[in-house]
Symmetry: D2
Subunit: 297 residues, 4 copies
């Protein structure tokens, strides 16, 4: 059995729907202040989730979905007012987005097609709340499979010897143009310089249940260790390889009859579903990073 | 993989912790009104979950956990004030409970021990938020296993010919003394009269994935149909057998090699975990009934 | 967690690999007779699975994978010899196939693309042991998605008023040309006449955990009943709708927040993985029908 | 969903049922030789599973369950004959056991009761194929819970300063008296000397999904790493801590709301079910060790 995860807001009307994501030190009166602000602004709360990292004295995080007629026109003023009247007072980080404006996403891939195609196909079905603006690959192989989805495919060769130029080329393509980069089994290392300059979050899929089998060839290592489950992990990319905040994980049962190729095949199913959940949740503003962990509302 | 379900509040301090569960027609301003009331009453919201059955015009339900110094002394006055200032205005049903006052629970069992023992054992470990005030069985067999837990075991014989007297005896024991009755594989039919007079909710465990295999001998029927999964369902008891609101379900994988006895053995593991989750969630005031469905916060 | 199922023989060399599937009344000496025959024929057993429906007096089924140099040339003679020297003696049904000859498969679909595309993708990746010789749909919508896979797409309109002609057309296309028909969310009823004349097995995917929610609109019914899991069932098609032998089932967890559209979206993921497992297992000669049940080796 | 695992032979009649477990270099004719021997000895094969680690040139392992009238009387002679006529010829390791003779098992525990009690419950219900001959603990706490099961409870204090004496005492109690030692959350290190002298296999339950979070405090480490699943691993004990051959693993879903205590509580459910599966499979002679891996038939 898989866990289905969250209801998708993609099946709801998006007009006039806003999302307010915020974080601050916990203290009494936060929910009342925020909900009173929204109520006075003419917004009706559709759903509200909050989390505190401790019963007292922790960090408070909240995600609120609300309906407000005329949101698009009023959004900037609302943001200013919230900043002045609520966020400033409580020292809040916050983010106010409109459901009607899907995130602009680039997907980076290499030769493996399963994660890439699954994202494109789900997006075409309307399951993911994003606009895929380009696919970049260091191999030309998948062009014919990507372009029928109406998405530009860009071949940017990359290997150890031309890493700097390749990253420069990718930065030119991506910077300012996307809100999220998804690494769909992209097999090139990204340098700290790239991560520092990209200006948006990156989500990666690792083909093991982290922290087991970090690094290369996790299915081979899993076979050697004789594990009875293999898994996949979607996480935000940080400078430490395979150490970023985990968004989602899942596993599949295997046994002694499965060779490394079988693990790879069975694992691929887990990879694509885990990555697509993580991307959906990110695009719906469900994920809050807190240190090396995530809160997924 | 099982789904772990919710964090248990049983691992938290319970002093001064209150739970407010409510339901009303949805309309703007509800969250603000409720959270403002709590804030003004000196209560700090620890967690808040809400659900609307429709984006507009549906039923609104909310569960709020709050911390308020001196709650025990102030509870009755708080309830009155909430009724006057909030609940009345919005036509709310609500319920205000204290985490420090666990529900009084009776368990009814027959000969099967797995669900009964698992509940008693989890409760001894402090995993369930309840006080088991008695076990009633229509067979004497399990007395020696129950009494070491410090729980009274009462043998009330019951079969078709003495149903009325048996139910009268059970009603004398239970009515007013318990907040919840758990049927832990209790194999006697309960009449509408009993359900009408008991005065508290009942939770039953059915040994199939409802609505598949209603009625008797579900594992035999499952074997005959050749299903690849068998399951269990915990639900509130209503007059319609096996038709009450479902609280929790889970399944286990089986195959052609499993005989009916194997299904029974494997299913028993699912039954005990599904029932214990349902009882925990009920005792923590997480479950709201809505027609023939449940919302589990 | 999903169950990965069986190792795929598709990752093994297929040259000289044979599969012997058989069924007869159980009696002593069967395994010895069969394995001695294979040994004397120069075949080395790679894997062997057997099942008896009862400890004594039941039905015996066995699947044997073996390696025999020159199998293709020797196959017909081997079949004759096995029939004479073993099968006749024990009253066996048997089937001798070569791994190097994948089954010829037709897929029937309507408008929904998830099951169809998943089968085509997996087959292109080499995960399924089949040759897709045509896709037939009663709608033209999916032609552009199917043809890039190099598979013929045939539009055969079908509805209640032209059922007989439509079935005749399909029979002309299919009969003798395919070893298996897969109904990938094909939304037309197939008549007993069609099933009688098609001359090969059909596998269907039903979008519920059978026997729960037979018939139409299972996700709507699931929502109304308030279940906590939804599922899918792959089964052989028989004249009784939704009653054929079950090959595989799986489920996904849902809750009160999921609307019918969410159930449909989450269920689609289960449907495609359940169907692809059933098709793979059938194509690898793993499935034996026994009354209304299946043995999956 | 949990995986149910294997059908239990404990629900079958055990009289005259034998189990033959063997391992040798793979070569043609093995299955034929073994099944012919059994057939000639008057044994009827009830079930047979085999596995080769490679298509050719690997290690061959087989588990055969057979029925032979008068097995108990004939067993020693049968063992001799098999050794002479089959095992010697192929260089086989083998083991011939009777289902009617359950393994003698000792359970070592410390203060945690969940794994210990679950084993004792299941065994009382007839689910496990073993005879528990003693429970040894380094704490006296659980005596009152163990003795009502009719099992001797022995308190053998153990800590760093008296490790040698404590191990000597345990060896005196165990050596020759048990066929298996189960560490049911036993929190003392066992030295290489102890492992060398005990003369029977040991099964341990580790409270993480190995190889993630080896060593101490895995639930705390899991919380810090922000994983979305926690698990448990049952493995044979070797001199390398947490490195022995894995018999079974499973996981449970967790999220940001779960504190370390919640992980411990949810993990305990996984631990007890994983350990009980591993013990059952070992007691039914299903598990073959092969290097650092296990084959579970």
């Amino acid at each position: 059995m898989t866990t289905g995860g969250f209801p998708s807001t993609t099946s709801l009307p998006v007009k006039d729907i806003g999302r307010l994501l915020l974080r601050c030190d916990d203290r009494p009166g936060l929910v009342a202040s925020i909900s009173s602000f929204l109520s006075e602004a003419g917004a009706n709360i559709i759903s509200l989730d909050q989390h505190s990292t401790a019963q007292t004295g922790g960090t408070f995080m909240q995600r609120t979905i609300f309906h407000m007629p005329g949101l698009s026109a009023a959004r900037d003023e609302m943001e200013r007012a919230f900043s002045d009247r609520v966020a400033g007072k409580f020292g809040m980080d916050f983010q106010l987005t409109e459901a009607a404006k899907p995130k602009r996403v680039a997907i980076l891939a290499s030769r493996e097609d399963h994660c890439l195609l699954d994202l494109l196909w789900r997006n075409r079905r309307g399951e993911l709340d994003m606009s895929v603006v380009m696919v970049i690959s260091n191999h030309p192989d998948l062009a014919d499979q990507v372009r029928p989805f109406g998405v530009p495919f860009l071949h940017v060769p990359a290997h150890k010897d031309i890493r700097a130029e390749a990253e420069t080329r990718k930065l030119e393509l991506l910077r300012g143009n996307v809100d999220l980069v998804v690494l769909a089994r992209y097999m090139q290392v990204l340098t700290p310089r790239f991560l520092g300059e990209i200006g948006c979050p990156l989500i990666n899929i690792h083909h093991s249940f982290l922290p087991a089998f970090v690094g290369e060839a996790p299915y081979r290592k899993a076979k050697e260790r004789g594990v009875k489950l293999v898994g996949a992990t979607a996480h935000y990319v940080t400078e430490e390889l395979d150490e970023g905040p985990i968004i989602e994980q899942d596993v599949v049962r295997v046994d002694h009859r499965h060779g490394v190729d079988d693990l790879r095949r069975l694992g691929a199913d887990v990879e694509r579903v885990v990555l697509s959940r993580a991307v959906l949740w990110h695009c719906e503003d469900r994920v809050v990073r807190h240190g090396n962990q995530t809160i997924v509302f």
